[in-house]
Amino acid sequence: MDAKPEPNVNRRQFLRDGARAAALTGLGGLLGVLAGRATAKGTVWQIDPQKCVRCGNCATHCVLEQSAAKCVHAYAICGYCQLCTGYFEPEPNDLNTGAENCLCPTSAIKRTYVEDPYYEYTIDEALCIGCAKCVEGCNRFGNGSLFLQVRHDRCVNCNECAISKVCAGDAFVRVPADHPYLLKTTSHGA
């Protein structure tokens, strides 16, 4: 009877190699996780103004008491309209600053006369709750110079942004932290 051939790998070698492979795999996984976290720290949440549908969820779903999403104003594309549809109710009694004529629920937009027939509109961020009511009015009938942005002096950059989970337009995106804003530069353009 022939002698039983010696196995290529004995049990001890197998266990040793297996343990080494497992350790290397674990180390690789750990490095992957660390690399992923490093990348995540390099990005922040932002609203793509082209996707925003002005659903109102920014005002109601942020984990902060007052939302980190605020209306911002691209003055370069504003028409400085006398009848600003981002400022006035759809059917105002008159075109003046009376509260009953104003669209903003918190009076966060200031209207200042420039010269006939121009008016400048300024957002008071301390009052703005990010409801996007003015954004809808401006985009529907105006140049679209009002739009929402996540303000990073307020945003706590949650891993899973509560607004992004309910954003009706899927407009919440991660952007590089060194370019944290998606600003509009032309009418109805990004």
């Binding site: 549908v53 109102g56 005002a59």
Partner: protein, 346 residues
């Protein structure tokens, strides 16, 4: 002989497997229910900050005194202006052509242009003046090109034309001015530019829809869209009067810039066209609102075009035939609707 290595019986295996499957199924169901509930809650949330203009999209039926008696498609996509000419014909600036149609929309002929046709006007003798972006081209009644006028430069954006007995007026939205030409194409005057000494406030044009019409009283009618009004000028550029007010209400002009198109009825009353809230209305010679020809509910695509992403490409234009029928050009749906007074239509 029983296998020593077997630590679990078949029955135990099946029982524990069934238990695990049950727990897994329960967990999956719970997750699915929760996800569905979350999705439903996100979808069904009523926006407490909704910008509600639904009411403005419907016109009081009592105010609508016209009804549609016909419709035909624009001969080419991207129409901009429509003008009435002699022999009951209509001239439509669309694509790279000025197309000629009879009163029922049947195409009679067309004139090719070197670029997109922006505006058109037709003299009583059938001479056609067509505006491309930066200049005017002239064609005889057979469609033969007889002249190409000098370019107005890079900023020019012609958007309206009117023709009188001796003069042609071109509305240049880019330069915010109405240009006065003699019929040879010589520029002889500029109208509407800001001039304090002449008490002319200037044209405010947030979007390129400046229009010009020559009324039977000899005065030009110009839509100063940023001021939401219609202004009357002499051919020499004196501002005689104006009317109109900014308002979402039916008697005013809404949004950043309206009205975007003008036409004049045979008795001198005005037909105004608006974008944003797409509507066509009639005003008296004094500028008092009279009635609606067609309201926003008639222009569903035009309305959608202005919402929610872009309101710079919508709009309407109108022309009037000798019988007072109004031809509405919908630049979004690329068609022409023929509207007649309700009594006349019935």
């Amino acid at each position: 002989m029983r296998n020593r290595k077997q630590t679990i019986t078949r029955r135990q295996f099946i029982k524990e497997g069934a238990q695990d499957a049950g727990i897994l199924a329960l967990g999956s169901a719970a997750f699915a229910t929760s996800a569905a509930a979350r999705a439903a809650s996100a979808g069904n949330d009523v926006n407490p900050f909704a910008y509600d203009v639904g009411r403005l999209r419907k016109t009081d039926p009592k105010l609508i005194q016209y009804e549609q008696v016909g419709q035909f498609p624009s001969p080419y996509p991207e129409p901009h202006r429509i003008a009435a000419g002699p022999e009951g014909r209509f001239y439509i600036a669309a694509g790279n052509y000025v197309s000629v149609a009879d009163r029922d929309g049947a195409r009679v002929s067309e004139i090719a242009l070197p670029g997109p046709a922006r505006c058109v006007a037709v003299a009583g003798d059938g001479t056609v003046y067509a505006g491309v972006r930066d200049h005017v081209e002239v064609f005889d009644r057979k469609g033969q090109r007889t002249a190409v006028w000098e370019s107005l430069g890079k900023r020019a954006w012609l958007s309206g034309l009117a023709v009188g007995e001796k003069e042609v007026f071109a509305a240049d939205s880019g330069n915010r001015v109405v240009l006065r030409y003699d019929k040879s194409g010589k520029l002889v005057g500029r109208i509407g530019e800001k001039n304090k000494e002449r008490n002319v406030p200037g044209l405010i044009l947030p979007s390129p829809y400046l229009d010009v019409k020559l009324a039977q009283d000899g005065l030009l009618r110009v839509n100063n869209t940023g001021r939401h009004r219609v202004e009357a000028y002499t051919a020499q550029g004196d501002l005689e009067f104006f009317w109109g007010k900014p308002s979402m209400a039916i008697d005013g002009f809404c949004g950043c810039c309206n009205p975007v198109g003008l036409a004049l009825l045979p008795d001198g009353r005005y037909v105004t066209c608006e974008k944003g809230l797409p509507r066509v209305k009639i005003y008296s010679k004094e500028g008092v609102f009279e009635c609606v020809v067609a309201g926003p509910e008639s222009f569903s695509e035009n309305w959608q075009k202005c919402s929610p992403s872009d309101c710079t490409t919508g709009g309407l234009d109108a022309a009037v035939d000798a019988a007072g029928r109004i031809y509405i050009l919908d630049v979004v749906e690329a068609n022409v609707r023929i509207m007649a007074k309700k009594k006349e239509a019935s």
